[in-house]
Each structure stands twice: as C-alpha cells, then as structure tokens.
C-alpha cells in the first residue's frame, strides 16, 4: 500500500466520522431531521447520539495516523541516492482534513 493511499484513506475516514458527528450533533439544533428521515428515522438518529464522542475520538485517531504517514521520516536508500517523491500535496490534504474535521467537531459539540 502506498503512502498516498494510506494518507487519503485515513484522512477520508476522519472526514467521514467528522460528518457523522456533525450530523448527530446538529440533529437536534436545526429542523431538518424529520423532513429528511421521517419520524422513525429521526428517532433512530437521536438514538445514535451516544456515538458522537466515539466518532470524534475515532476521527482524531485517524488524523493522527494520517499525520504519521505524511510526516514520517523517508526511507533511506542504501546508496543515499533515492529521489523521494514530494509529500507536500499529501501534507496539504492532511491539514485540510484536520481543518474540516475541527469545524465539524465544533458544530457537533456546540449543537449537542
């Protein structure tokens, strides 16, 4: 598995969990859930609210993994001539994901 896949996978997972947390948190602050999910769906969504802290914790762990893959020291070739691929785009992605997850966590926790 390449570093690109690892970074994108972990950052994407963190984003998914962030969206999930924001959805749970915002379920009871804005009038959208019943219109979108119906009464039973809204009840089910409210029953998932206990997952909010776990999803934020999971997002934080995944982001930590993404940072590790993006910033870990590159492998050193035996002759020291390896032309390592630039990690700059991956690091930008990780930081962008972090900002988005932080924003969604703020929504989730202030609405909860």
């Amino acid at each position: 598995m390449t570093e690109k896949v690892r970074v994108l996978g972990t950052a994407g997972g963190a984003l998914g969990l962030g969206v999930f947390a924001a959805t749970i948190g915002a379920c009871c602050a804005f009038p959208w859930a019943v219109a979108l999910l119906g009464v039973s769906g809204a009840v089910a969504l409210a029953r998932l609210s206990f997952l909010l802290p776990y999803s934020l914790l999971g997002a934080a762990i995944l982001l930590a993994g993404a940072f590790w893959w993006a910033y870990r020291p590159p492998a050193v070739c035996a002759d020291g001539t390896c032309n390592a691929v630039s990690r700059r785009p991956l690091r930008v992605i990780v930081w962008a994901a972090t900002a988005l997850v932080a924003g969604m966590a703020t929504i989730a926790l202030t609405s909860w």
Binding site: G9, T10, G13, G16, L17, F20, C27, C28, A29, F30, P31, W32, A33, V34, A35, L36, L37, G38, V39, S40, G41, A42, V43, A44, L45, A46, R47, L48, S49, L51, S55, G58, L62, G65, W112
Partner: protein, 223 residues
C-alpha cells in the same frame, strides 16, 4: 482502522431504513389547538382529577423529543390502557424559531399527527400551541430556572398525582419533572430516564383504587 467506516455505514443504513419504516406507520393522532392561556388543557387536566396525569411538552420535529416519546411508549404507555392514567402532550414549535435557516421550516400543525403516532395509548390527549406561549407559561409555573436564567419549557416530562389541580394561570407544580434540555444540566431536574419515570407512575397507580371492571359496569347499567 476499517471498523470506523463499517460502523458509520451500519449506522447510516439503520437511520435510512428506519426512515423508510415511518411511512408504514398507521393511525393518525388527533390534536386540539391550544390557545395561549392553555384553556382547553386546563379544563381537560382538571376534569381528570383523581387520575395520575402526565404532561409532555415537545417539539414535534425535534429528534430527541421524539426519542423521548418513543421511549415513554415502550416503557410505559403501550402496555396499558388504564383509565386512571391520562397523558397530555403539548406540541410547540422550537427548532428553527430563534435561529431561522432559509429552507428549514419550524414545526407546523401537520407534524403533530405524525409525532403523535409514537404513543400507542387510548388516554393520550394531543395539543398544538403554535405560538409557543405554553413553554413560557409552564416555565414560570414550575420554576424552570438555571441560576438566574429562566429556561423555556420544552422537552420536559412531568408527573402529577391524583390530587393535583390547575388553579392559577399556569399548571401546578408536578411531583416529578424530568428533562432532556442541556440548559438544565446541573439543576434539580433529572435527565429523562423513561424506565425510572415509568416506575414512578406505576407506584402512583398502585396507590389508587382500581377502576370498576367492565362486567361490574355492565351490571350497574343493566340491573
């Protein structure tokens, strides 16, 4: 690492399939429009003196409120048709009223029958208070405060004993008030626990005389 996306997918499926199931529910609940003095509720409440009375105040499109209704139904209401237990549910619009977002509408009267379907009990009386004045009335009447801050009454769950009578402008003080409002965390009002709520109601019902059986009523009507 893969457990989180899997859990997320499962949760989404649960929510979506539950939403689909909502359409299969049947039996629309009826409701009464409530004026700002809650006149009809007051009359109905006092008519049932001698019964244990429950008062639920909820927004019909608030998921947490709806979960509370579903829990009350599961733990208490669906398993009894005891006429000594009367339930008054006041629906009022809260979400989207103060913080209005274009495209997202606050609750309307059409939402009440759908929410009312969550309670499967013949002794439930539903009311719709479109102005939300009942929340202020109840808040003042029962002292719903957090420090010096008066907290608007919604997502609150009250138990009244058989002797309670609505005399003043607002409802009387209840025997028990549970809430789900985060604004009331750390106050004397406990977080809603539908099982504990149901136990309290059953304890009160056990102290009341049993209603006459249908056979006794028939004998009385046709001697």
């Amino acid at each position: 690492m893969r457990i989180f996306p899997a859990a997320l997918t499962a949760a989404c499926l649960l929510v979506l399939t539950s939403g689909c199931a909502a359409g299969a529910a049947s039996g629309a609940a009826t409701y009464t429009d409530l004026d700002d003095q809650a006149s009809q509720l007051r009359a109905d409440f006092n008519r049932e003196i001698g019964s244990v009375r429950l008062l639920f105040v909820v927004d019909p499109i608030c998921p947490t409120c709806l979960r509370g209704l579903a829990d009350m139904n599961r733990d208490l209401l669906r398993s009894t048709a005891d006429p000594r237990l009367q339930v008054f549910v006041v629906y009022e619009p809260v979400l989207g009223v103060v913080y209005h977002i274009p495209g997202l509408q606050p609750a309307a009267a059409k939402d009440v029958p759908k929410a009312g379907q969550l309670l499967q009990n013949p002794n439930v009386h539903n009311y719709w208070n479109p102005t939300g004045a009942f929340g202020r009335l109840l808040s003042k009447a029962v002292g719903l405060r957090n420090g010096n801050h008066q907290v608007y009454a919604w997502d609150v769950w009250l138990i009244y004993g058989p002797e309670a009578e609505w005399i003043g402008a607002g409802p009387p003080r209840p025997l028990l008030l549970m809430r789900q409002l985060s604004e009331l965390r750390g106050t004397q009002f406990p977080q809603l626990d539908s099982r504990a709520f149901a136990r309290q109601v059953r304890t009160l019902l056990a102290q009341l005389p049993h209603p006459p059986s249908s056979a006794a009523l028939a004998n009385h009507a046709h001697p």
